[in-house]
């Protein structure tokens, strides 16, 4: 198969998978189930695109679907604060970082041309089988219905973090962790002045 046909086949399969998931959700759990299928197929489809796409930038960008899908799932679970934090940090921040990081690497003009279909299928099926087995072993499916609704407000999370009997230590350690990450980033960025000069000579910006 040539590249174009492969692409068409892949995206058609993805589309039908998503439609099937939504239909199945609609049949079993009504509108909410359909929404679950929608967001879940976004999440998984983004991940699949990430390993399928041949251009690194497109790979990185497809993660956006994954992150948005996860945010949607959070909303379905009744936790909109987490969903918004997910979008604010992952979509608004980390994905930008990944894209910048990809653009920092030497330009990959020919794009990856490897016919990785066979390997990809093996990897996906293997991972699905492994995760499926694990999940089936761990999850008690009947329990989900009896769980209380997970409506946690931002206020409650804040109180849990900040009250003296809460997670204060973890909260403060988060600041230290962030600082360490920052120092490391500056160290890498400013390690060798020659790196920067090298870029200028290449016509880099």
């Amino acid at each position: 198969m040539d590249l174009r046909k492969q692409q068409i086949a892949f995206y058609t399969a993805l589309l039908f998978g998503a439609l099937a998931a939504m239909g199945w959700g609609l049949k079993t759990a009504g509108i909410q189930g359909a929404m679950f299928g929608f967001f879940a197929s976004f999440t998984l489809g983004g991940g699949l695109m990430c390993i399928w796409e041949r251009s690194v930038v497109r790979s990185a960008f497809s993660l956006m679907a994954t992150f948005c899908g996860v945010a949607g799932l959070f909303i379905l679970l009744g936790h909109d604060f987490l969903a918004m934090a997910q979008i604010l940090i992952y979509v608004g921040g980390i994905l930008v970082l990944i894209l910048f990081g990809v653009m920092l690497t030497p330009p990959d003009l020919n794009e990856r041309q490897l016919p990785r279909v066979g390997l990809g299928v093996v990897a996906v099926v293997g991972a699905l089988a492994f995760v499926g087995a694990k999940v089936a072993a761990v999850v008690n499916w009947a329990q989900a219905e009896t769980l209380p609704p997970a409506e946690t407000k931002a206020e409650q999370i804040g109180a849990a973090f900040l009250r003296a009997d809460g997670y204060v230590i973890a909260f403060e350690l988060a600041a230290v962790l962030l600082t360490v990450a920052l120092v490391a980033a500056v160290y890498i960025a400013r390690r060798k002045p020659s790196d920067l000069i090298d870029l200028t000579e290449e016509g880099g910006y």
């Binding site: 909410q32 909303i75 379905l76 009744g78 909109d80 934090a85 604010l88 940090i89 608004g92 921040g93 980390i94 930008v96 970082l97 910048f100 990081g101 653009m103 920092l104 690497t105 030497p106 330009p107 003009l109 609704p149 409506e151 931002a154 206020e155 999370i157 804040g158 109180a159 973090f161 900040l162 009250r163 003296a164 204060v168 909260f171 403060e172 988060a174 600041a175 230290v176 962030l178 600082t179 990450a181 920052l182 120092v183 980033a185 500056v186 960025a189 400013r190 790196d195 920067l196 870029l199 200028t200 290449e202 016509g203 880099g204 910006y205």
Partner: protein
Amino acid sequence: MLTNYAPVLILLGIAVAFAAGNLIISDLLGRKRLNSEKATAYECGMDAVGSARIRLSIHFYLVAVLFILFDVEAIFLILWATNAKAFAAAGVGSFVFMEITAFVAVLAVALAYVWRKGGLTWDR
């Protein structure tokens, strides 16, 4: 809770339909007389030299890292900000404020470090 977001979904549908619909209509109705000259990248009338996929300065990367770190900080601060009045009313305002001050102070030190190292200077 979920009914809060149902109208957002409607809005999403309308917005996607508007944006994509406009592009598709324009795609269908617009005239097409493409030639190879038109398809070249704009470079003030000159032929483009080299590739447009150039490597970018590490500075952009640093800005993105800085953004993520302080973004996470902001999320933590939002948790405090929504509760600040409640804490003050409950009498634990000063204690919580100390916590937040310590949290922000650590990150302020980090900011000062980056500043000192010239990470905030856009010199090139």
